[in-house]
Symmetry: C2
Subunit: 158 residues, 2 copies
Amino acid sequence: MNSSIAHCDASETLKNAGLAKTSQRMAVLEKLIGAPGPLTARDLLAETSQRLKINRVTIYRILASFRDGGIVREIDAGGGTAYYEMACRHNPIHPHFHCRRCDCLICMPPLTLSQTWEWLTRPTDFSVESINVHITGVCGPCREKEYCNDVASERNTR
Amino acid sequence: MNSSIAHCDASETLKNAGLAKTSQRMAVLEKLIGAPGPLTARDLLAETSQRLKINRVTIYRILASFRDGGIVREIDAGGGTAYYEMACRHNPIHPHFHCRRCDCLICMPPLTLSQTWEWLTRPTDFSVESINVHITGVCGPCREKEYCNDVASERNTR
DNA sequence: GGCTATTTGCATATTAGTTGCATTTGTGTT
DNA sequence: AACACAAATGCAACTAATATGCAAATAGCC
Ligand SMILES: [Mn+2]
Ligand SMILES: [Mn+2]
Ligand SMILES: [Zn+2]
Ligand SMILES: [Zn+2]
């Protein structure tokens, strides 16, 4: 549900993803591994820059490389700021609760949609104001275009 | 499911919401009423500015007044851009599908969470890549603070 | 230890959205 | 119809998240 229990060796995680072990990446990854909940780029900059020299842009690039390497999940909680959490086997995909007052993001149990619905209707320590089901993918027209591109690139590579 | 069928008189809608009938508001509202799907501030600026003089900031302020007046719903589809659609009785709340390729937002049938889940697992003309349940509200600690504030303000107003 | 590709830092750009203030406009009143 | 005032608009400047180009630093490999 969260990643506060120490798990996943940072060095090993980087190696497995084929990413070079730099001090900046290690610092960011260690913070993510030890975090009690999802963090923003801003959070990570604030925390890591106390220990070493690291640039804002580097944080963004590191997070993008982690996301693309499957190390972290990028959570778009709305409000234009992305949150990040470990995407390891100790932390399966789960819904999030976003407090509109303090902007914190709270991890919820990894349940199916209908189980989540049930879970939310039980009394909890926070008050739910809206549930947004946000489905992402590729639309009909775009899928056709993608398919054509796939065929075309396949054709070009042989 | 969408608002492409003409409905809701723009003038009347403004009057009911107690908002002054300006040419800019009329232009924005008419576009929203006639839209086949949710629109961004950018979309609305592009479309309305062909017909009259209207500023980018005015669009944002108009949309905020419509949102606060219950005329439109603000949809945060992630990616830092808000979409807007009519919030009239012809257009009940429903989930949205967001195409990561063309960034379009497609309205889905107004079903419950579990019905939506079923609906998504049936073959559709678009391919679903991720389903994000995004719950907003007030967290435990913040709720206590809000409660205290409520009590305090109640105490002060008498 | 040195070579090379990758990563980082810094400056600068972009994009969505907001704010302050002067000007214009809608609306209710004479 | 003219008037008066509050509300709405335009414009410029600002914020915040994120992206990009390029030169300098550094990790991984021999
Ligand atoms: Mn989580
Ligand atoms: Mn819709
Ligand atoms: Zn909170
Ligand atoms: Zn598309």
